[in-house]
Amino acid sequence: MQGTPTETATRHLAETSRWKPLEFAFWLVAFGAIWLLPSHHLILNEIIITALFAMSLDLILGYAGIASLGHAAFFGFGAYFAGIFAIRVIGDPLTGLVLATLASGALGFITSFLVLRGVDLARLMVTLGVALVLGEIANKMTWLTGGADGLQGVVMGPVLGLFEFDLYGRTAYVYSLVVTFLLFLIARRIVVSPFGLSLRTIRDNPLRARAIGIPVNRRLIAVYTLAAAYAGAAGALLAQTTQFVSLDVIALHRSADVLLMLVIGGTGYLYGGFAGAIVFKVLQDVISNWTPQYWTFWIGLILVILVLIGRERMNHQVAVLWARLRGKPEPRPRTIVGGH
């Protein structure tokens, strides 16, 4: 199917936005699990929410190159917002979800100005600081958040007024999955748009991005806001499906875990969060069954090896495999974070 350069170019640009067979397979399995794994809906719900959270981090790390050690700030904010909204205003899940998402986005917008300056390390520390301060606020505002005891008395109404949250976690999983899927569709469109491409230029080389007329700061603010909204949605899903919010939602380990998951799954192709969340949870389950107290040792070892081998090279291998599975001869390796 060789054609004029124009045709080739059009085809190649379209290629990135076209759905691959494996993607279909993935979502088929995810939806199939509703019937195939009825006794695992609770853990599946946890995984899909974590995956959505990791995907939100991918938007800023994998596409715009902003490393964050405090992404749980938005996850936690969304969770508390949804929980408090259900208690104080109305228990309708969708209303709460939408508002929590918007509110988290607003928080992301405000704090985005803090991450514009500085490079990797300063950003890591600033994001970490923001999450720590928010966590401390949640701890202090006991009258609103329940403090260290956690937020209690969250009672959710049925989804769409039809589906009650059941004990088996079925409604919870289906609800989280559908929401995640919709958000994924939006994210997938965004990352292959001109806007998404411009983010990748910022990730690879902010200096040059600016020199070809891309307003770097504004793009970063936009994507940071978007990622915060996504993280907030994940937090809201957690609060609504577990009907409880505790300070853990905003804790450092939540931010660190999601970063690890994303890195294990690979950045910059949206599915990294899903792969990472699944691998992480399964590993956690397997290893902690085998050696409950010391499973962090093995996670640490995996990280060390992952970095030593080189995340890029690993991702490249995955890309090669991926291409081979699709029967395409030409793998296009991807770089992770811009760095020169």
């Binding site: 939806f31 019937w35 609770l42 701890n139 209690q152 976690g169 569709l185 409880f244 505790s246 107290q293």
Partner: protein, 388 residues
């Protein structure tokens, strides 16, 4: 397959998922024990799991002809995980009862589930007053903070102390101790100054300096157990022990699990608690000995006894119901009374909370090791926060 089809599939899935349901008969009596086996609260989990296993080893694994099975799960001390695990145990493993719960938020997160699924829930560690009010299926065998801190406030006032400074870590249990001790102490004519220490706090010197400035009769401390030793060392380092300020607290700071590693700085610290490994009774001697034997010489602490008694409550209840769970089991556990290693105790038939003796102890050296030696008893204390 297009994206639209996908959405359709999702909608269909939603419908189907909600109509299906499962119900299975149960053969064995399964008890789900949810504990923090990793993370910062590992020691709580270890102690309770060891005690529960010891109880089953001693009392057998058959009740009413059915086999009792203990399923231990790690929740890493994170509330949403605790809840998820409890839910899985209830719906997948069809457990008769859930137990454990190392921290207050973990118990509170799970309480609505117990109500919804009518599953008895035995709280073996978490100590905040409100827990048992959050579900009629909760029974507690650990302690209630007001139950310890309140009577202690009265006892301290009776010793003639007029002014106390409290230093508590700024989180739920700390606030509880501060409130109940202070209220009762003030009601008995004392004066209190409250200080709170942030959870992440490496150096206690500013707080101890404030205490030194204030020169109270006693300093009441409540900090997470690992940090307690540091606090005591700095207390001694500042010479506060020689300044006539008595160091007092709830038994959490002189936890049997770490008392020996704290070292001699703990000598003379007066605390109130419901359990000491040095409690002088045949039941306790047997318990401590068996526990140490089964666990490499590990000394049982108040967490262990909470787990041990929790299993006892479940066993006795199940015997009465012939192995049935649900409301019957809760009913059966209400009003139970027995001689625990900690001393006489019972389950309040109205509040399902624990009624037990509170002991006043002093850290002393016994046979080369540090122990909390009991020297006064406040008998049969109900949780004052519920005794209306």
């Amino acid at each position: 397959m297009s994206r639209r089809n996908f959405l359709k599939a999702g909608a269909v899935a939603l419908g189907l998922a909600l109509t299906a349901g499962t119900a299975l008969a149960q053969d064995a009596i399964k008890i789900g024990l949810i504990l923090p086996m990793t993370g910062p609260f590992t020691s709580t989990g270890k102690q309770i799991a060891a005690a529960a296993q010891l109880y089953m080893a001693q009392k057998g694994t058959t009740i009413a002809g059915k086999k009792v099975e203990l399923i231990i799960k790690d929740d890493t001390g994170v509330a949403d995980v605790t809840r998820r695990i409890a839910q899985e145990l209830i719906v997948n493993d069809k457990v008769t009862a859930i137990a454990g719960f190392g921290l207050t938020p973990l118990a509170l997160a799970t309480a609505p589930l117990a109500t919804q699924s009518k599953t008895p829930m035995v709280v073996m560690a978490a100590a905040t007053g409100i827990i048992t009010e959050r579900s009629p299926f909760i029974v507690r065998t650990s302690q209630v903070v007001p139950q310890i801190a309140g009577p202690f406030g009265e006892w301290v006032a009776k010793q003639g102390m007029k002014r106390v400074v409290t230093v508590v870590t700024d989180y739920g249990p700390g606030h509880d101790v501060e409130k109940w001790f202070s209220d009762v102490f003030k009601a008995n004519g004392g004066q209190v100054e409250n200080l709170r220490v942030p959870l992440a706090n490496p150096d206690f010197s500013p707080f101890l300096q404030k205490v030194a400035d204030s020169k109270p009769d006693a300093l009441l401390v409540f900090v997470p157990s690992g940090v307690g030793s540091q606090f005591m060392k700095q207390f001694v380092e500042r010479g506060l022990d020689k300044s006539g300020i008595k160091l007092i607290g709830t038994g959490d700071v002189t936890d049997d699990d770490i008392l020996n590693t704290i070292g001699d700085v703990a000598l003379g610290v007066v605390t109130a608690h419901h359990y000491s490994a040095a409690h002088d009774s045949p039941e306790n001697k047997a318990f401590v000995e068996a526990f140490k034997k089964a666990n490499n010489g590990l000394r049982p602490n108040f967490m262990a006894v909470g787990g041990y008694d929790g299993m006892h409550a479940l066993y006795e209840g199940l015997k009465k119901t012939n192995g049935a769970g649900g409301e019957a089991l809760v009913e059966a556990m209400k009003g139970l009374a027995w001689n625990s290693p900690r001393g006489p105790m019972s389950i309040d038939k109205d509040t399902r909370d624990i009624i037990q003796n509170v002991y006043i102890r002093r850290v002393e050296k016994v046979g080369g090791e540090l122990y909390n030696v009991e020297f006064a008893t406040i008998p049969n204390v109900k949780d004052p926060s519920k005794a209306k």
